[in-house]
């Protein structure tokens, strides 16, 4: 090769990256730099002025930090009411909110499948940036890897989040006790059914839209009104039933919930009836359960209902004893049964 040879230094990579993700986009070279600059930094900015250094740094003040991480592998990538990008922000923001934390910073790790369209990636990243702005959090560090075609599912995202818990706030299953009221922040099952019906091409009447939303402002409002919050849990995989069982076991308490008071919209109930699914086990991405002392329960419901994301908040039961870690459901007929954990995923039935 002579000085005059017109060979690009990036050869044998294609001169134009085209409109799909290629393995070289994760290879550490120019294509990767371009992707970071054109897609990620363009959308997320560089809020801590890290100048694309290996990590983000910031000063800490006094207080308690909350730290969480979650990975997102939803299919389809875009669904009514959200996409994997907004979900990856809401999910991690909500995990922080359930600790009573004010969410501040997120990391974003992407695993991209070769062949993914750049337009889809841009759409997801833009949506993620918008969700972060809406939630008042900054995405301050990130990573991208590309895997061979067929070894991923378009986009996988991991987000980790850091938030600050106000002084004196302790929220966790260890504080749950007999006499606590159990509140849910809204109607159940929309996210799971929206994603399932989109993925499987089920044409349910009415538009079922995911409930994916940030919840930290509702929690902050409860704390601002001096509501004593004993425990919070977002109702993601496994739904309300799994969250109640996890907390009952961790706290060693018995709970009673009333089927009649659990909010489930008609179209969700209908879809679940058709598919043989139980809405109490269906995933939500913008709903939580709260354990609040009886004396604060009614006020807490009223505060929650002031927020759009919790306007269907309901009191659904209470903690009734110290034994056994069981959840008892009083059915709509007035009979009683156990609301147990599922053994695996709910599978649609035969007929």
């Amino acid at each position: 090769m002579t000085y005059h040879d017109p060979v690009e230094p990036t050869c044998p990579l294609p001169k134009m990256p085209g409109d799909t993700v290629q393995l070289a986009h994760g290879g550490g070279g120019r294509l990767m730099q371009n992707l970071i600059r054109d897609v990620f930094v363009r959308s997320f900015g560089d809020p801590l002025s890290t100048h694309l250094h290996d990590g983000a740094t910031w000063s800490v003040s006094e207080g308690t930090l909350a730290f969480t991480t979650d990975s997102y592998v939803v299919q389809p990538l875009c669904f009514p009411g959200g996409d994997i990008g907004s979900l990856a922000v809401h999910g991690t923001v909500n995990d922080l909110a359930m600790c009573g934390a004010h969410p501040l910073w997120l990391s974003a790790g992407f695993i991209l499948e070769e062949g993914l369209s750049i337009a889809m990636l841009q759409r997801v990243v833009d949506s993620m940036a918008q969700a972060a702005r809406d939630a008042g959090v900054s995405i301050v560090t990130g990573d991208t890897k590309v895997v061979d075609k067929g070894k991923g599912d378009g986009i996988f995202i991991n987000t980790a989040g850091i938030g600050v818990v106000p002084a004196g706030v302790i929220i966790g299953p260890q504080r749950v006790r007999p006499g606590d009221a159990i509140l849910v922040s809204g109607d159940l099952g929309s996210h799971g059914i929206a994603v399932l019906s989109m993925r499987e091409g089920l044409d349910f009447a009415g538009n079922i839209v995911s409930d994916s939303a940030p919840l930290h402002r509702v929690v902050a409002d409860l704390l601002a009104h001096n509501i004593e919050i004993h425990c919070l849990r977002d109702l993601t995989r496994g739904g309300l039933a799994s969250a109640l069982n996890e907390i009952a076991t961790a706290a060693g308490v018995r709970m009673s919930v009333y089927e009649r008071t659990i909010p489930v919209r008609d179209e969700i109930q209908g879809a679940c009836e058709v598919l043989g699914l139980d809405p109490l086990f269906v995933a939500n991405e913008g709903r939580f359960v709260a354990f609040i002392p009886e004396a604060h329960a009614d006020q807490a419901v009223a505060i929650m209902r002031n927020h759009d994301v919790a306007k269907a908040a309901m009191r659904i039961g209470g903690v009734i004893g110290h034994e056994s870690g069981a959840v008892v459901l009083k059915t709509i007929l007035g009979t009683h049964r156990i609301l147990d954990l599922l053994s695996g995923e709910q599978l649609p039935r035969i007929c």
Partner: protein
């Protein structure tokens, strides 16, 4: 929600329960045939509302549970063929075959896909012309018309890559087998509403007359089931044994003639082994000669040649007794201990219509053992 709320009405349910209590002067044993009814009974704890004199026993109406091990083994074998995509309803995935289940076959690299309707599999066959799409045709008379329609459409479209592994079973021959067995203690039946929506209930009339047993076609909601029980108890107390229809909002005596003619065009009755129960003459369906080329068992004969024709069932599983109402799930020694949904010994623990699954799910750890 319309068509649900009114049939889950607490006042109506309590009124019916009181009427049953007032009507039942003697102990009666009633079998609900369908697993969907069993789940409703256990989910809403309807037995809490019934008097001690009226005992409900659970019947064989779980198609997943009665699908013979040998057919599950065949489905697993088909899924392992590289060019085959096996389509199945979701609740077949966890049912144990001789050595593994379809989940394990999927994890082992088999292309196993959950479908919601046989027509989903047909669409897949159109979109993947290079693959063989085999659909596991499981179910009672309820699902048979949709599979028949899929086969007819495949024929009309000239699809060469679509076939069925047929495991269809029929309700009346099974009821007759139970009634004619020595030691049968079932005195009245709640017949399966959805099966009768397709087939009507004319074919149950000779059974009711011959075995002097009341049969009430019944729906699936709590009020339906309590009303069905009241109708059976009333007949028993009055010494009558006829077929009555509680589920009139869905079922007519002659059923859905169009669906029946679809089934008759594509399938013909055949003897079938019921898992845990044994062979029952003419209790299943098979593709008839005109549609034999859609039969996966024939198309893949060479691949299936060394599959055991019987299959190996876990001898500790008492599914046969459970499915004939001779035992309750929590009477079984293995229930909740050696047999759980995570490690099932038999199908009733994992099918969405299985009685053991219903007891495990709705009665919880504390009640897993009596």
């Amino acid at each position: 929600m319309k068509y649900v709320d009114e049939f889950r009405d607490r006042d109506h349910a309590e009124t019916l329960a009181k009427a049953i209590t007032a009507m039942a002067t003697k102990p009666w044993t009633i079998m609900e045939v369908c697993g969907g009814q069993t789940h409703s009974i256990v989910r809403f704890c309807l037995d809490e509302l019934l008097p001690k004199t009226v005992k409900l026993v659970h019947g064989p109406g779980c198609p997943v549970c009665v699908t013979p091990v040998a057919l599950i083994d065949q489905a697993i074998r088909l899924a392992s063929i590289p060019r085959v995509t096996l389509c199945t309803f979701g609740d077949m995935l966890r049912v144990p075959g001789s050595h593994q289940d379809l989940f394990a076959a999927k994890a082992g690299g088999g292309d196993v896909r959950i479908i919601y309707s046989p027509l989903d599999a047909l669409r897949l066959a159109q979109s993947l012309p290079d693959r063989e799409i085999v659909c596991f045709a499981v179910g009672f008379e309820t699902t048979a018309p949709a599979f028949a329609m899929a086969v007819q459409q495949a024929q009309n479209m000239g699809l060469q890559n679509f076939s069925l592994l047929v495991a269809h079973v029929l309700v009346p021959p099974a009821m007759e087998a139970m009634l004619s067995a020595p030691g049968c203690r079932v005195q009245g039946f709640l017949a399966a509403g959805h099966v009768c929506t397709v087939m009507g209930y004319e074919e149950y009339e000779p059974l009711a007359a011959r075995y002097r047993v009341p049969i009430v076609v019944t729906g699936f909601e709590p009020v339906d089931i309590l009303e069905g029980v009241l109708m059976v108890v009333t007949q028993l107390e009055e010494g009558r044994s006829v077929v009555e229809n509680q589920y009139a909002r869905s079922v007519h005596r002659l059923g859905n003639r169009q669906a029946q003619s679809l089934v008759a065009d594509v399938f013909e009755p055949a003897s079938r082994t019921w898992r845990g129960i044994g062979a029952i003459p003419l209790s299943g369906l098979t593709l008839n000669l005109s549609y034999a080329r859609f039969d996966a068992a024939q198309r893949f004969q060479e691949n299936l040649m060394d599959c055991d024709t019987e299959g190996i069932d876990d001898s500790a599983c008492q599914s046969g007794l459970i499915l004939q109402g001779l035992r309750k799930p929590n009477d079984c020694e293995a229930f909740g201990t050696r047999c759980t949904p995570e490690r099932p010994l038999g199908a009733p623990m994992v099918s969405s219509e299985g009685a053991c699954a219903a007891y495990y799910r709705y009665r919880g750890q504390a009640m897993h053992k009596k």
